[in-house]
Symmetry: C2
Subunit: 328 residues, 2 copies
């Protein structure tokens, strides 16, 4: 077993408490995409559910625990996807949820959080400012602080994606996982290293929000001062030490990709797979685009982690002509 | 049991021979869509698979039968989706497939049929000309003619969608089913009338290809001379008498929708559900748009039957401003 905070028995148990609408998601080989990218691409689709991202897996585990412990509420900082998911899972159980977001967050995601019945608190700045405010609210109100990636429930919920990929008996060489705070990367990575250690776990992060990737390579926490990426779902500046330790135990590599590749990845997923995805969900394809030689002919799984994107942004980003050369 | 050619035991058996990649598809309530349309909308998503439509369910049943009977091949007429699905299922079993399409068919769908290894025969004209040619090829080569909707395997394969909806225990008032040849409508309708007869089965067809709907209302086959719709997946002119008889036994209504509503439906599905869909898949939403009073406050399921649409067409159709008033 890989030496992380995660536990395979808890991950298996997590799957049983998650609303079925979030699990057993589609996984299929997308030949047009693979043909274009020079490898076999399995798409694991996490967008066909009420919150349009994989975060429902983790929020369900969190809220199941709160309900079991008679907790009175939860608060989280979120750029949108965790907030939506927590709001959904809280409403389902009658547990109040507060979401703290930066004023720069995606307006569509914020609308959905409100519509799902959560209290929304907006703070100036980015996700790191929101994290500080969420912590303060939790202390003041005596409610559960859900810190994405630090909170084991969020990692073990996300890990059920890995369980489904491993148990589907599909032959894989590489799994590409979007890297932000680290919940999905450590979760999916833990399961692969525990059950299918030969599969390479490659984390992908935008070069405009590289803190966790830099930290992984230097084996110590490295923070950054700014964030400059369209991939709002993975935009953090302050990696959490415990999560970095877990990631060091399960990731085989962590790579950075540039913004034009993310946009091209979104366009490829639209044109070749018929999918609308948010930038974070295109990180895997971006990695394939930036390093085709590394992945040529190999069997790759990429997790399409969310589709919460403003339509105008999506249209603009996917109409860009910038496309990295596919040749090595 | 409704008096059709279909059989519930065979439908249950069908599910066991279908490649798992086509079954147990996502079904979830899409609140943003429902809020906009004034009802509860459950999306049953049939696009997240290797052929991007529901047709793999039927093609798998067809090809399983051919393989069991040591058949030497199959031919079908198809605007694209059945052709892709048959090609996929044939390749999986090493059975040669020939697809006959009209020269007016969607080029992207035709490319995919070729890439899946099927022989592609193009004939002038529309799907009815292709049907005649397919019949002639089948007779000449002594191979199985797969006539969509007439061939019971295609209906009973599609019927497994209904089985999943019924068995999911979700409370529904209405199921909206795209109507073309009738395989999906009779299949899904049969299952609902057999197992959950209180649910209203409403078929939806474009007013530019109204033959089967007119036939259903007049209770006899009515043909049309022309086809004028962007919904290529449901564009037929000559309803099959046996299929009409089945449809009369299971459908509660059949309605026609106009082209602007189909385009608006596609745009709503893009903007509110994050889905790229082909026109046929937006027929249900188009029906909700055209008759909001009928569906107000009710629990509706709509089957998103395919996403094989040219990106430029999709962009053009979804950018149109035409939108029917939502008020009654």
């Amino acid at each position: 077993m890989p030496g992380t905070r995660l536990d395979l028995h808890r991950i298996r148990a997590a799957r049983k408490v998650i609303d079925p609408v979030f699990v057993d998601t589609p996984a299929y080989i997308c030949e047009p995409l693979g043909r274009r990218l020079g490898c076999e691409v399995t798409v694991k689709l996490e967008t066909a559910n009420p919150v349009r991202s994989f975060k429902g897996r983790g929020s369900e585990v969190v809220m199941d625990g709160i309900a079991a412990g008679n907790g009175s509420g939860a608060v989280c900082a979120s750029a949108g996807n965790l907030g939506q998911a927590l709001a959904y899972s809280g409403r389902r159980r009658g547990i109040p949820v507060t979401v703290v977001a930066g004023t720069s967050a995606n307006p569509g995601k914020l609308d959905r959080i409100r519509e799902l019945g959560a209290e929304l608190v907006l703070v100036d700045g980015d996700i790191e400012n929101a994290r500080a405010e969420a912590s303060s609210i939790a202390a003041g109100r005596g409610i559960r602080l859900v810190e994405d990636s630090l909170d084991l429930d969020t990692c073990e919920g996300a890990a059920t994606i890995g369980l489904e990929l491993v148990e589907s008996s599909r032959d894989l060489d590489v799994v590409l996982v979007a890297l932000g705070g680290g919940a999905m990367a450590t979760g999916v990575g833990h399961v692969f290293k525990a059950l299918s250690p030969g599969v390479e776990v490659v984390c992908v992060q935008p070069s405009g929000a590289p803190a966790m990737t830099r930290s992984w390579h230097r084996r110590r926490v490295v923070t950054t001062d700014t964030i400059d990426t369209i991939a709002d779902g993975v935009a953090g500046r302050h990696p959490i030490p415990e999560v970095l330790t877990d990631l060091l135990a399960v990731a085989d590599d962590a790579v950075l990709v540039d913004e034009p590749s993310i946009k091209t990845g979104m366009r490829f997923l639209r044109d070749l797979a018929g999918l609308i995805v948010e930038p974070s969900a295109a990180l895997g394809v971006a990695a394939l685009l930036e390093n085709p030689a590394r992945f040529a002919g190999r069997r790759i799984a990429t997790i399409i982690c969310g589709s919460n994107v403003d339509v105008d942004d999506f249209t603009r980003w996917t109409s860009m002509e910038a496309e990295p050369a596919l040749a090595d």
